[in-house]
Amino acid sequence: MGTPTAATVRDVLKQLDAAKDRVTLHADGHDVPVTNLDKPLWAGAGQRKAVTKRSLLRYLARVSRWMLPHLSDRPLFVTRFPNGINGKSFYQKHWDDPPAFARTVAIYSSQGDADGDYLICENLPTLLWLGQMGSLELHAWYSRTEREPDAVTRGRRFTGSEAALDKSVLNYPDFVVFDLDPYDYSGRESRGAEPELHRRAFNRTRKLALQVREQLESLGLSTWVKTSGRTGLHLYLPIVRDLDFDAARDVAQTIARHALKDRPKDVTLDWSVERRRGKIFFDYNQNSRGKSLAVPYSPRRHATATVSAPVRWKELETIYPTDFTLRTVPDRLEAGGDPWDGILEAKQDLGATLGVGGAA
């Protein structure tokens, strides 16, 4: 199956538009029953209309062409909001009885010392099924189960023990990631709440992102940027898979420390939330097996139905996170293409670029 054709997507949209409150969708030869299509998942406010489950499924179908390549071969975990972003949410990584069209992979987990089945979302039916379950936020590992083309010597045994997993290809990420998360409060937050999105904080975050990009660019390394869909920015540095997660984390930590030295008033690496106040948390700890930021185009739990949106560096000066929502992003992609087109192939050999061992 893989990435759906334009005709398949059109067909699913037609079925969704014609459906009453429930229907069994036919997509790529599989049946996906969907219900409560008119249930609002993001409440409306003022001029803004509510985003219903039908809108979510339409969104997922329309962006699937660009989103699925980022999910393919990667263990997935999701945050489910069965009653929308204002209802209870929970986090799920193992599934008891996934449908036949959804691929799963058994992976050892040190918590509980046992193997567990992870879902891998690699086709439109699985994506629609996840949407039906209210899985709004999708997180996929930075490593994947397949070895081609840059990790052919790594193992494919993921079960039995931590040691086996350590040696496997799942311990070698495709990216070093930086999560720039502003703890610059607007002042309107209620007690204990997380910082809200506001212009000053986002401007500071974008300046920091541009500086990190410029510094890495001067070393010959290209980074890619997306909005987190909430308040911050995510930077991805695609790499050849010859560094394991620990090494990727070391690389990210080195860059984070450098940013801290450079902008001590803007950057914090502090683990204590209270001490991050007023600064941008440069989180390098996401470079860890089993952790993940929201995948590109994943919806987020924000009142305006924002998504985590890849952007072009030259756009970064003028964009704002709320520009990218479930309503706007499909049109943007269809009209202007994917800013992250090519990222999965743009692998960089850190050792060679930096001249490790006398090379370069």
Partner: protein, 278 residues
């Protein structure tokens, strides 16, 4: 907002009030780290055994109580676990007193008490009762393994909890000999006049820590002027140094550096993943 440091319930007769406890005060003192002045590296504390002349890992340590000069009785974790902790998760109210009856010397730390889930109603009842009667409740609470006396009082529409010292933790006053100090009427009059001049309502906003303000300004100025001592671990101010540091990271990884035994692993429990939301 700080995270709750304790949660449990207030036992008030037959009623149980679920509550959370938050620290009400914080010290704003600026703290410093000790660096090696010649190279700028942050100094490490080492647990050193002078007998074996070696550094001692945590798992080879044990707590010893010095009962005589150089003579210790040792206590293990199991010993500590055996100790009784009657009020582990409850604040059992035992008496009601007038606030003035508690001398300020007994007050140790202040906490805010907030109702936990479904605790609002009984919380409000206790609060209003204390407000209307003008009383403070005495109770016991166990925080960080230590049982302490505490006082609960209403303040600005919420309950506050102050931990109290036990009487044997209060030192006796030194003997003060005043018999020979004779005060004249005139001296008293003058002192009264001076006091009347300075008499005003208490406004804590008027008082600032001038030393801390000056210190913060000095630190800010040093940061602005980049008058920063860099530890060798992160001594990269130019991109070229970033390249060096990165090269070292990658090189170490490729050589298969020995991994630290207890590197924090990916923790993907439900709780953390939903809290971390970027």
């Amino acid at each position: 907002m700080a995270r709750a440091i304790w949660s449990g319930s207030i036992g008030f007769g037959m009623v149980s009030i679920p509550v959370k406890l938050f620290g009400a005060t914080e010290s704003k003192d600026i703290s410093f780290h000790l660096l090696h002045a010649t190279c700028g590296t942050r100094l490490k504390q080492v647990r050193w055994c002078p007998t074996d002349e070696q550094e001692v890992p945590w798992n080879e340590t044990v707590r010893g109580y010095e009962f005589g000069k150089d003579q210790y009785v040792t206590l293990t974790d199991e010993d500590f676990e055996k100790l009784p902790l009657p009020s582990k998760h409850t604040i059992e109210l035992s008496a009601f007193v007038k606030a003035e009856e508690i001398d300020p010397v007994y007050y140790e730390r202040s906490y805010h008490l907030a109702p936990d889930e479904r605790g609002e109603k009984p919380y409000a009842l206790l609060l209003q009762t204390l407000e209307k009667k003008g009383l403070t409740a005495l109770a016991a609470i166990t925080i960080r393994k230590k049982e302490q006396l505490c006082a609960l009082r209403p303040k600005d529409g919420a309950l506050m909890l102050e931990t109290l010292y036990y009487p044997d933790e209060i030192r006796a006053q030194p003997e003060v000999e005043l018999d020979k100090a004779k005060i004249t009427e005139r001296e008293l009059e003058m002192a009264f006049t001076l006091i009347d001049l300075l008499r005003k309502p208490f406004d804590p906003e008027e008082y600032k820590d001038h030393y801390r303000e000056a210190l913060s300004q000095l630190i800010e100025a040093k940061l602005d002027g980049r008058d920063v001592v860099k530890s060798p671990a992160g001594r990269e101010t130019k991109v070229i140094d970033l390249a060096d540091a990165l090269r070292q990271s990658v090189e170490a990884a490729k050589k298969g550096k020995p991994k630290p035994a207890a590197r924090p692993r990916a923790r993907t429990s439900a709780r953390r993943a939903t809290r971390k939301v970027s």
